[in-house]
Symmetry: C2
Subunit: 420 residues, 2 copies
């Protein structure tokens, strides 16, 4: 269960109901017209899950030999998968290792290679365009380093996730490498619930159907019941974006670190745009982890420019817990007030205390409370943030789903290599 | 060697030489009067390094048995150590494992405990105040979980780094646990080159003297030669902070991820302040890693609000390298332009291309180029950023070295526990 508490907008002038209704209808239209296909992924991807189940049955002997699922992908092709993996890993001590070959950093690539047992690894190449330069380069290095015979002997150890008809798709089709497609109208940063995340997570052993169920449940609640708190939050964030251009996500729990990074891409790339009037607009996402970043970023939130909204994410019941022993250390007795409590209590009460200290300073905050870190809850959280992003994009009158700004750098890159 | 390229200020009105000279003198005064003690740590900490060398000789048999150095600390007590460790780890395949017990997250604490070989681990408890609630709680949990007899049998496996006279210091003195002190005038976020970082890094096997040497070399160059580029950068960042309130550090190389986090604390906590006139001021630090975050945050920098400056950090020669094989994959031939080049070239040219694409859009950028990721260079980089922070603080007329904003949350925390 996920609870959404205290939307920002209560603190300021109320949005017109008519305006919220307009945005809601615009989202309905986006979904109905397929402007983005992510809205229906929870149902659409069930077919992939079933296909994978059949595959897993057919290939169960092979799959049993695998220790590691290595995702070769970057950005939208890895961040969401990593986020779900990290969120749930502690619940799956028996799952296969997951490893992400993302950055073209030779030192970390070689360190990853050292950790890979070649014969016990499934390599999944993920690229929406099918020609992402980092991903294809790493794939080539993997082929060479592990002497991977993708035309024969090792064909079962390679899979491809890409758009239908992309260069990578045609490559895989030519060599009969197993392929999964990403719906054309689902952009990278909205694609975690498509084959992009579903294929590696399911093959690693995660209960993907329940993740999709949680996401679908929230989408249904939104479209049937409006989830007005979401629209009001989007209203506040976008109408006051000149006052509060920085959106901080303060998650209490290490397992949410990669969710934070996924959020940063979703938010930054979707909302950082030139709007219909030609103005540069956006909201700058910043992800932090509590309580550790109370010792880092909190001072700035409180005494720095008042340009930040803060959303706290709190996990009520961690999967494992540990007591703070009733040990009184001589001269350090003043810390004994937490003795006999648990670390779960400590981190949660730190979250509450920090939130209250920001509220006392009139900094706009809200909070999302997960009863546990479960498959359904991480699915819901993903769908919640995706719809929130779409709602903000509509209110900001921008194209939420493209990313034209990064093209120039890619062109310069090619030119630089050509002139070498 | 570290090179500092293209300071922002060239793009805007020139600072008065007199103003820069004033700031330089103010920094000289801070150093001379000991307003902050970090300026002289490169020399001061050499004494600790020598003390540790003597200790290592005396206790060489014991130290040989150790596999792991576990730092129990949070914020300024861990971020800098982690930053140096991550930056240099690939050069030290023979060093001891380093492990950081930071966040009071029960799931990750238990996962860390599982990885610890009790008899082969040195636990270093680091807390400037000597009563940080997360740190003392984790220390208690370590004592209980590993049945650690700090009064007798296991006394050699525990060390303490703290301010002289702090509760933790008095505790350690009482039980004759080995202690190292942090200079009273060195705050947590400026303390990495004090015993805070020196003790764990040296015992793990890092060449700490060369790190200190690099830092000292830069400090000397600054105080003797002014390093005007640093002052001009601080001038630009602070004088145009209403235009560019967000400071992005875009580091190309995974080994700099924790350096980024260290920078976020240093910058955010130091500069996020209520200034002399009672105004909220600051610069919001954001750390990203290239090329991976080109696929995440870059679109926002380019098309979003033009409120960001971007500093690129580039490593010219990675410690290890790997070629992109000359493999042409059918249908993906358009990616072949990078074939036979190395990943080192790819990541560096991506850095150059991204920087040029921002410059083409008139986004203020500069670049710091490290010839290699060496001990001296990471030391220099730390000192560079610390002095840059001090220079900004002086120009912003704030107290760079305190953090009053976080006190309210701590008080609320204690109250919440007392009323439970």
């Amino acid at each position: 269960m996920v609870t959404y508490e205290k939307d920002f907008s209560l603190k300021r002038e109320e949005p017109e109901q008519a305006e919220l209704a307009d945005v809601f209808r615009a989202i309905e239209n986006e979904a109905a017209e397929g402007v983005s296909g992510y809205y229906t992924l929870p149902e659409d991807s069930m077919a992939i899950a079933r296909e994978l189940e059949a595959y897993a049955e057919r290939e169960s002997d092979f799959l049993k030999t695998l220790e590691t699922v290595a995702v070769i992908g970057i950005g939208g092709s890895s961040l969401g998968t990593k986020a779900i993996h990290a969120a749930l890993a502690s619940k799956y001590p028996e799952s296969k290792n997951m490893l992400f070959l993302e950055n073209p950093d030779p030192v970390s690539l070689l360190a990853h290679f050292d950790r890979i047992n070649r014969d016990k690894t499934l390599f999944i190449v993920v690229s929406k365009s099918g020609s992402t330069i980092e991903t294809t380069s790493i794939f080539k290095a993997v082929i060479k380093h592990f002497d991977l015979d993708f035309q024969g002997r090792d064909i079962r150890q390679i899979m491809v996730v890409t758009d239908e008809g992309s260069p990578l798709d045609r490559f895989a089709a030519f060599y009969s490498i197993q392929r999964f497609h990403i719906p054309a109208n689902v952009g990278g940063r909205f694609s975690v619930l498509s084959s992009v995340g579903i294929v590696p997570l399911m093959l690693a052993g995660y209960d993907v159907k329940t993740i999709l169920g949680g996401a679908g449940h929230f989408a249904k609640r939104f479209f049937e019941g409006k989830e007005e708190h979401l629209l009001r939050k989007a209203y506040f964030l976008t109408h006051y974006r000149e006052h509060y251009p920085v959106t901080v996500l303060f998650s209490y729990g290490d397992c949410l670190e990669h969710f934070s990074k996924w959020f940063v891409q979703l938010w930054g790339e979707s909302l950082g745009k030139i709007d219909e009037k030609g103005s540069h607009t956006g909201l700058t996402p910043v992800g932090h982890i509590g309580s550790v970043d109370q010792h880092s970023f909190l001072q700035l939130i409180i005494e720095g420019m008042r340009d930040k909204t803060v959303t706290f994410i709190k996990i009520e019941h961690f999967d494992h817990d540990l007591s703070i022993p009733d040990i009184s250390l001589k001269y350090i007795e003043k810390t004994d007030y937490v003795n006999t409590h648990t670390f779960n209590e400590l981190i949660d009460i730190e979250c509450d205390a920090t939130r209250e200290s920001l509220m006392a300073k009139n900094i706009p905050v809200d909070r999302i409370v997960l009863d546990t870190m479960s498959e359904a809850n991480i699915g819901e959280l993903i769908m919640y943030y995706e719809i929130l992003t779409s709602a903000c994009g509509i209110m900001m009158q921008i194209d939420t789903y493209d990313q034209p700004g990064v093209e120039l750098g890619k062109k310069i890159l090619v030119k630089k290599f050509q002139s070498k």
